[in-house]
Symmetry: C2
Subunit: 439 residues, 2 copies
């Protein structure tokens, strides 16, 4: 497994790092992206950012939260400021089970591990299951932060196509058959069934049992990542995959989108034997999730109308989704297509052939609108005609203005395309890894 260091040409290319020969093989892919520089520019106030995935916290009752947190520290500070167990605060684990019950999940608090956001849950799951070269199946496109984690454990990610009803079961069967034929071990399917990031589509309820059945038959675990499940715009809540199969699904949840991302409280609900390994892995990764933050979430769930709060988030995000879809309808040039999410944060836009969304991005930022190019959401280079548009953060009128600007850039791009040929030939070189949704 150990490598004998980089080849001479790579050394030459990156010789500014004197530690280059020392890194683990898994660190090979950890290179900073040029796109990050654009993200810094995109965060300027004059730019309408349809790029980030930050939740909008303006509706939170800050004074109420300030009082609650203050009383936790004053009355229970010796617990709140002390180490806890890697398993998580018991009362919070019970409350989380009540939250998941809204999606039909009947889980036991013992089988739940509290993590530093669901990103850490994803990291731990990957850590305990993935050997270098193991195959992970993921929707195409998929969450960029998951792809980063899979890459850091040297997984071989294969995408499974989606249509407007989510993951296509026939494509899942084909991907499993292809892996079997190539004698490759598929460890798990990673899926975001509800209001997919970045695609904005939802796995049809009629497909859920089928997807689970296919995976169970092929001895493939299902990792269900569900940060947006309670953010359906018509109040609809889809049954979690975990509600239909408790033996073969690991459910990842988060308070980042329904309460406060900056607290970094997420969780994994896993089959009992797996949960034991997750706790040991969590201990090794960070000892425990911050006790204070767990108590804050617990207090919030106990004392605040958190379901009402989620309803107000739904309304806010629905208005923004409406603004984005109306703007696309009104301004986008012919040949563009996009998804129509009924929840979550994202719309997935496909532009006409010949346009390269990554090559176009600097021009978009110059025109004061930002998005995330599609290739970052694929492990295999696909996505050059796609982009993710977020409607979670800017207010509706800014979203409308952003879409207007984006349509202008795209129209110019299509003009150029007719005159000079495909943008791909004018593309920037180098890897493309957008920052995750913290940007």
């Amino acid at each position: 497994m150990s490598t004998s260091g980089p080849s001479p040409d790579r050394l030459g290319a990156r010789s500014l790092d004197p530690h280059l020969g020392r890194y683990a093989a898994r660190a090979e892919g950890m290179t900073a992206s040029e796109v990050r520089a654009l993200f810094a520019v995109a965060s300027r106030p004059e730019v309408v950012s349809l790029a980030g995935g930050m939740p909008n916290l303006a509706a939170l009752p800050l004074d109420f939260l300030a009082d609650q947190i203050s009383s936790i520290v004053a009355e229970d500070g010796l617990v709140a400021l002390q180490y806890g167990s890697a398993h998580g605060v018991p009362v919070l684990r019970e409350q989380i089970c009540e939250v998941m019950a809204l999606e039909g999940v009947t889980g036991h608090p013992d089988d739940l591990v509290v993590t530093v956001g669901s990103q850490m849950a994803l990291d731990l799951v990957t850590r305990i299951f993935i050997d270098p070269g193991d195959v992970v199946l993921a929707e195409g496109p998929s969450y960029v932060g998951a792809l980063g984690t899979f890459a850091s454990y040297q997984a071989d990610v294969r995408h499974v196509v989606m249509d407007e009803h989510g993951l296509v079961p026939e494509a899942l069967r084909a991907a499993l058959a292809a892996a079997a034929q190539a004698n490759r071990r598929v460890k798990f399917l990673y899926t975001i069934p509800n209001f997919n990031n970045p695609a904005g589509v939802t796995l049809a309820v009629s497909r859920r049992a089928e997807v689970l059945d296919i995976c169970a038959r092929h001895d493939v675990l299902v990792i269900e990542d569900n940060p947006y499940g309670l953010l359906g715009f018509d109040g609809q809540v889809y049954p979690a995959l975990r509600s239909m199969d408790s033996d073969n699904v690991i459910y990842l949840g988060s308070f980042s989108k329904t309460f406060a991302s900056g607290l970094r409280v997420g969780w994994a609900l896993a089959p009992h034997a797996v949960r034991e390994k997750l706790v040991l892995a969590a201990e090794s990764a960070a000892l425990c999730a911050p006790t204070l933050n767990q108590l804050v979430v617990s207090r919030y769930l106990a004392t605040h109308d958190w379901k009402g709060q989620i309803k107000s988030f739904q309304t806010m995000y629905r208005d923004r989704r409406d603004a984005l879809l109306a703007g696309l309808e009104q301004h986008m040039p012919a040949g563009c297509t996009w998804t129509r999410p009924d929840g979550g944060f994202f719309v997935w836009l496909t532009v006409p052939e010949g346009v390269d969304t990554k090559a176009m991005q600097p021009r978009a930022v110059t025109a004061r609108v930002a998005y995330v190019p599609g290739t970052g959401f694929y492990a295999d280079g696909f996505g050059s005609r796609q982009m993710r548009l977020s409607f979670c953060y800017p207010p509706p009128e800014r979203i409308t203005e952003g879409v207007r600007r984006l349509a202008g850039v795209l129209a110019d791009e299509l003009d150029l395309l007719h005159t000079f040929g495909p943008t791909a030939s004018r593309s920037l070189s180098g890897p493309q890894t957008p920052a995750p949704d913290t940007a």
Copy 2:
């Protein structure tokens, strides 16, 4: 690298886990320890626990902290409760540099990454440097949480002996020579130079340059883990290894022992090129450390007499150290030896030949005193005649009583030993992994 599953006999032994054949090779060593059950018993109020490593927070100004946290949430909640960057909050990074300046470190805030406790920093450093089979050198004994992390990345840990002046340079040279002769790659030396956990000894200042020089000559990175550095009982502050070598040392720090462990705020200061990889690894592991917690630490450093607070911690822990040493002096049977720490949390006790501290542990808990057996602090099975005694948590009079009980158990054990032979033959079987210091 991928394994073909466990051998049949192992499968038979652990067939309760239906996911057994799915785990990554690195998860192989993640098995729950029987010692954990004892820890649960040891946490009963009638037991004097000299086992845990929890800091004593009783001296913290909880009402003041409650007010400060409240005002952060009320006035700056949209930042505090929102995602931040994986790099960490800029103002906190500047303040941490001021903290490290107390130990002679001149670091740039850009080269510092804020992590979820220094445990996460350790995890990230191991992640980017260690391929399976790479050699890590560590003091013997060493921090159990570090050994767990190294094991989870399949490192080959080799111990380097310490004496009362810490790591022995000659032994370090010998370990490096042995690895070279066996054609094994040594990636780094992991060291806790100040008030070592669990040994309680400090690396003599006169040895520090020599240790650094040896590592630099052998192209071996130094990971300096320094959670206790400011907890010297005579107010002494030793110069950090990082203060003497900025190119070859990664410094890990933490607010867990000098402020509040439950906030989980630690950091790594690394050479610039390494820092970039650490940020990318941190993003993949947890997106970012909790923003609220970073702002709380920042506010605390800005508004509280934190140096005075640390002085009061020093006094409190010194009184407890004194109680433990006096108790040992008074009660321990002949043939016992122990270290005399001038800071930190721990004393390392060696018992007479023939006594097995792990086998004795259940009898100690029955006698209402708990400690951590020594073998958990070694990756190679050494330590059966050793134990770690913590003086950080119980008040002095409880410590005195705990030592009296422990001495009684030990005296009985020595009686048994004379009658029936070594305890090792009566030992419990199975792996021994104490819980880390959160227990």
